[in-house]
């Protein structure tokens, strides 16, 4: 398969992730959608690594994986904290700050 296939696939995933962030209201699911976007980036990186024959992309992908994990950890921590404060699990209700 040509590299382009992988790239277009990654683009689709990226957009699906983005759409998810925009449409879902649970912070948890939004975090998952962010994972999708990062993974799309990973797919692209690996594809490009294959295309250029360099290892940089793979290293990058690995780094991104860890970063994503860290974000998830912090994000989930935040969700737990919100839950503990009895805040609603709906980002639309988190709009006290505005204007």
């Amino acid at each position: 398969m040509d590299i382009a296939w992988y790239l277009v696939l990654s683009a689709f995933i990226f957009c699906i992730g983005g759409a998810g962030v925009l449409t879902r209201r649970s912070p948890l699911v939004i975090l998952i959608c962010l994972e999708l976007m990062l993974n799309a980036g990973n797919l692209a990186l690996v594809a490009f690594a294959r295309m250029t024959g360099t290892g940089d992309g793979q290293v990058f992908a690995l780094v991104v994986m860890i970063v994503a994990a860290c974000e998830v950890v912090v994000g989930l921590g935040l969700i737990v904290a919100m839950y503990r404060s009895h805040l609603p699990m709906d980002v639309d209700d988190m709009s006290e700050l505005h204007g």
């Binding site: 992988y6 994972e35 990973n42 797919l43 290892g55 992908a61 994990a69 969700i79």
Partner: protein, 181 residues
Amino acid sequence: MESVVFFVAAFMAIGGALGVVLQRNPFYSVLSLVVHLLALAALFLLLSAEFIAAAQVIVYAGAVMVLYVFVVAYVGGLEDPLMEPNPVLRIAAPLFAVALGVELSVAILGSGLKGIDSRGPHVGAGFGSPAQIGQLFLTRFLIAFEVVSLLLLIAAVGAVVLARKSAAHPQADERVPGGTV
């Protein structure tokens, strides 16, 4: 053979992704994500990135997902309605997703790069192997490696800070309305 694997994996990846977005129950979303991640791992294998694929399965589909499931379980099954209440987003979100997708596709397909319409150059067997990755990490990307380790540390600290049952503010209990904890 490769094509078949690709299409199957691609189908699963997209299906998983759509599942994440469209499932009302977060728990199912998490499960869809696992499917998606496994499909990606397969694609990584096709792209001669064995180590990444392995890490994907172990780290992501394994560890991180467990975390998700745990939190979903802790927080509870909160379902949100699919019907979008925000009129702007109802139209704009899919619209921009499609627009961005088209745009990225145009960029990819319109690129004049030679490599993009190939399957990539021939690469040695060591490509994507743990050894190669490790070597890169210890030489050119040493800094990234070290920084990432620091990042893991601080993420842990951060999670502790956030998730710790805070004794500093007793009023948290006062504010419990019905006591669902």
